[in-house]
Symmetry: none
Subunit: 202 residues, 4 copies
């Protein structure tokens, strides 16, 4: 049999990495970072644990690349961008955003939330990852802040310092997602409506 050519190899490399990162995200989210064993990721990705070290230099790199990949691919980003262009009222956009955050279809996104949760206030988190988390947070803030302001103009959102509202709301959101997202995945719509009452006028 002829050896694989360069393209095919590249193809395999690519598939394998995604296979690993996809498995890693879930495992990291389920068990936390330190408690995640390389061997568990390997099992989830149906490969040998040794192979992971062909594609990543360490557990931390698996984590970091997986997070980046999740953000790029699964793209909360894309979602946010599209949402920005939707023809909805500010509070409806916020609701859609929350629904999205809770949705299991966007499970990767929930993985990312839960992983980030786990990172917070751990002093041994590598700077790279901290930076990533910060940038992600900033992204959400940058998305929500104008919506809140707009909503306030429309009278849909209560009159409070917008930055503070965003802070309270995102803090709450990330708290409950990290805590037990499954609770919010039953009866989601109703629960989200109640959650939103925090900041809406009616």
């Amino acid at each position: 049999m002829a050896p694989l050519n360069e393209n095919q190899l590249e193809q395999i490399r690519h598939e394998r990495k995604e296979q690993i990162m996809s498995a890693a995200l879930q495992v990291f989210a389920d068990n936390g970072i330190k408690l995640t064993k390389i061997s568990t990721i390997a099992k989830a990705a149906k490969i040998s644990h040794g192979l992971i070290y062909h594609y990543f230099s360490s557990k931390e790199e698996v984590l970091y690349e997986s997070l980046q990949w999740a953000t790029a691919v699964n793209t909360s980003i894309n979602f946010l961008e599209e949402l920005g262009e939707d023809d909805l009222s500010p509070s409806e956009k916020i609701k859609k955003f929350v629904l999205y955050a809770f949705s299991s279809t966007s499970s990767t996104s929930s993985y990312v939330f839960r992983i980030i949760q786990n990172l917070d206030n751990k002093e041994d988190t590598p700077q790279e990852i901290k930076d990533y988390v910060d940038s992600l947070g900033t992204m959400y803030i940058n998305f929500l802040t104008p919506l809140i302001k707009e909503g306030q103009e429309y009278g849909e959102i209560i009159q409070e310092e917008p930055e503070e509202l965003v802070g309270i709301f995102l803090t709450t959101l990330s708290g409950v997602i990290a805590d037990d997202i499954t609770f919010w995945q039953e009866n989601t719509e109703r629960k989200v409506e109640i959650l939103l009452r925090m900041i809406t006028t009616r």
Copy 2:
């Protein structure tokens, strides 16, 4: 020289145990159970790791006794009872309860919340501790449910299935406490008011 008498020994034992449990609560809360090292607790309590095993038979027992102690000392229980007798409207009582949960004087309470957080959905949690967590949850539910119902009669609380409201509210509360309580300890009153909007009428 005469050995210490029983009183003095009892005194030392008592101090030492509290010293350990107090340190343990914080360390467990910060790092999660599995990731908490006995040596870290020892360092935090400024004793040698060996000594912990004079007072507790295992890491798990440290955890269990610490939780019990926190509940007893920090006495959510007493607080809840007194609050029940206060001359306040239902929604005011709920507010006071949330303020208490966030208060730094009851910082142990935040530790307990965060520890419990960490236990959930881990299948290897010892039954004893699961039972403890359940009983604590029940206590809060039993406290909150009648207040919610009463509040609904007064028209202060929105008309939703009370059990579901309690669920959503406690889930949110425990989520945000576990996530990052310090956020809620600045400007607490204002933030709590916003949080309460979830369930109060306008």
Copy 3:
């Protein structure tokens, strides 16, 4: 380069396990079970201590499997069966049996004896191992009892309750083997003849 195929791996695993069990038997026999350090077994087997846990789940399992393996390999069993068919008088068979028990080729057998020694009357011995020891004892009893009876009919063996004779003889045998088998490995034949005088007629 291609990874090792299943056969080669099986080969390595097999070798390694035997290497470990062989070392373990000796170390357990020399030091007793509790006092045997995994690291000592590892050193004796010229591997790292970590590797032992690839092949066995705990010190106890090393012990248990090693005992089983020793019995299977060293095949007292086969020996006993063949001996049963030999064309010798009962007392000659018993003598051959004792010589075999002392023989250095069957030195593993001395390890097993010494290990069993160490287990007796320890209440924390796992049931599995107790069962194994019992079954081994039964095997020897079942072999010896008919020989003793036959010998008594031939007038070669003294007239005592056969069960008691077997008990005394096996107890003595296991005691001396466990104590210091090397003593019996010089001048074995003569010493065994003297030992056998316990139960033979003049």
Copy 4:
């Protein structure tokens, strides 16, 4: 109350030491040396573990002094001397000696046997204790050898090199005592008679 005077203190010191050594012998015999915990000895002696270090500098010293004390007090030595003067035939003396070794009344002596057993072939035994064991062995050899020779003259004992007979016999004896002395404590007389058949003519 007046403080204790020098004599009384000396008295207490003496009692305490014996209390400890007596407990230690049994505990060492039951559990082996390394596996014996100071705390177990302390419990058996009904004192605190700290106190042991007032009387002995280390676990090993407890062991060593206890052995010496057992030999001196309980005095196999005295027994042997008296036995030497008894008006019995050589083989009867040997029998009496074996019965004594097995007797539970002389339990201390059985302790010593079992402890010594445990020491053998352990390379980390302190020289002091090795010397003690050797001297004890020599004592038994010196006692038995003339009896064997005498017995051979009387025709009671088989004609073999006396030194070798003594060796075989003592080796067997120490083996079975170390193995499971309780077995020999039922029906002792009959069992001992059978054991003696090894070296006797009838």
